[in-house]
């Protein structure tokens, strides 16, 4: 998620420069507001400096072990990035902001030795992980459900409509969806995948195949529908479904490969 935020800043930099040249972010009246929105206010005149500072902090956060301060700083950056670019924000930014909020509690550093507080720390960690997983699962469930109850999605017409909207489909994307049978297949594949993800992701046996299918699904929509940031934030969110064991295996496999 940190790497995604770094890339996002690089990609949105130019648009933000245009945006601040037309809009001025008003200084909030309250002291708390001034502290929370300080980067947004400073960005009115010093956007380049603010973005460089954001990137420097994010790089430090990537290197250092994750702790509560890291979580708060990350959320603060994402929140200001969101506020600063509100006119051009989309679903991916909502996902990123909410997951950044959960990430504040996804740590046990500094470790608290007091027994009750230690239990509370472990509980908040687990709750944050489960909440983030549920948020990702709900994105699929709500999207799958909406498609299932919509006639144009059930018949495949929705795919044709997407193709019709030139701003939604790239050149080679529109070439694929001219056939009604293909439309129907694409439509039902999407519905089944989204609903199945919400249920089967909780079963160990299906987790990896679903995540691999999800990566492929999002890569396809990234390049056919030009939804780059949404696709990549969803792929980044998949890391929340991996266990400590999975991470250990991945690191071991990567080191063998290296």
């Amino acid at each position: 998620m940190l790497v995604f935020a770094l890339v996002k800043i690089l990609f949105i930099w130019n648009t933000s420069l245009t945006l601040v040249s037309y809009y001025e972010f008003a200084t909030p009246g309250s002291l708390i507001g001034k502290i929370i929105f300080l980067p947004s206010v400073l960005a009115n005149d010093h956007l380049n400096l603010i973005y460089i500072a954001f990137m420097a902090v994010l790089i430090i956060l990537v290197i250092l072990p994750w702790n509560y301060i890291s979580g708060i700083l990350f959320f603060w950056i994402i929140f200001n990035l969101y506020r600063l670019n509100i006119p051009v924000m989309n679903g991916s930014d909502n996902v990123q902001l909410v997951l950044a909020g959960c990430m504040v509690f996804m740590t046990v550093r500094p470790y608290i030795k007091h027994s009750i507080l230690s239990d509370l720390q472990a509980t908040s960690f687990n709750a944050a992980v489960i909440l983030a997983q549920l948020i990702v699962v709900c994105i699929y469930f709500i999207s799958g459900w909406d498609k299932l109850v919509t006639e144009s999605w059930r018949t495949g017409e929705a795919i044709a409509m997407i193709a019709q909207r030139e701003q939604q489909v790239g050149v080679w994307g529109s070439a694929i969806v001219e056939n009604a049978l293909v439309n129907g297949m694409l439509s039902w594949t999407t519905i089944i995948f989204e609903l199945a993800f919400a249920i089967l992701i909780w079963f160990r046996r299906f987790r990896f195949p679903l995540l691999i299918m999800g990566v492929m699904f999002h890569l396809i929509i990234a390049f056919t529908l030009t939804l780059y940031d949404f696709s990549f934030v969803m792929i980044a969110s998949y890391f929340i479904f991996l266990t400590d064991e999975d991470y250990t295996k991945m690191i071991r496999n990567l080191s063998v490969f290296a």
Binding site: L19, Y22, A158
Partner: protein
């Protein structure tokens, strides 16, 4: 226990229509904004779109052809970084166009919206060497009727003005 209640609420807010109980409450708003992001690609959003068409008249010359930045962006196969940048600029242009309400041009704030749109069009979309006499902006809502396989266009607003003064004619 909390987890079960949360999951049940997520299911309730997903599968029931918005007119049902709790949807309009603070709890409903919290769920729709934070815990239930989406749905994406809803029918109303894929069946319709808005476009801003623009043409300009050079001093002592004639009107240019109408051009649409959105169409241009989606037809051009640029590298991902440049394409992403174009897409966000397109979002910005649509945001400015959506915010403008020509029926209430007496309002200072809304006049400011037109001037913002004008400033953006002049500085970002029109070749810099051109001395513009008039600018014509046409904001259109396009919808696609699948049953008849036709597209339908409705003009939301159409405004011609002198960009130097930023006053609606």
């Amino acid at each position: 226990m909390l987890l079960v209640v949360h999951v049940l609420l997520c299911i309730y807010f997903t599968v029931t229509p918005r007119k049902y109980i709790l949807h309009a409450s603070s709890l409903g708003l919290l769920y729709h904004r934070v815990f239930l992001i989406g749905p994406f690609f809803t029918e109303d959003r894929i069946a319709s779109s808005t476009h801003l068409y623009m043409r300009y008249k050079v001093k002592g010359g004639s009107w240019s052809e109408f051009s649409c930045y959105t169409d241009r962006v989606h037809r051009e196969g640029r590298p991902i970084l440049l394409h992403y940048n174009d897409l966000r600029h397109d979002d910005l242009l649509r945001y400015f166009a959506k915010a403008y309400r020509p029926a209430k041009t007496t309002s200072e704030k809304l006049n400011a919206q037109l001037c913002l749109l004008n400033r953006y069009s002049i500085s970002e979309l029109i070749p810099k060497e051109r001395a513009i006499d008039s600018l014509n902006l046409l904001y259109v809502h396009n919808s696609f009727l699948q049953k008849h396989a036709i597209g339908k266009s409705d003009t939301i607003w159409n405004v011609t003005f002198n960009p130097d003064r930023c006053v609606v004619r």
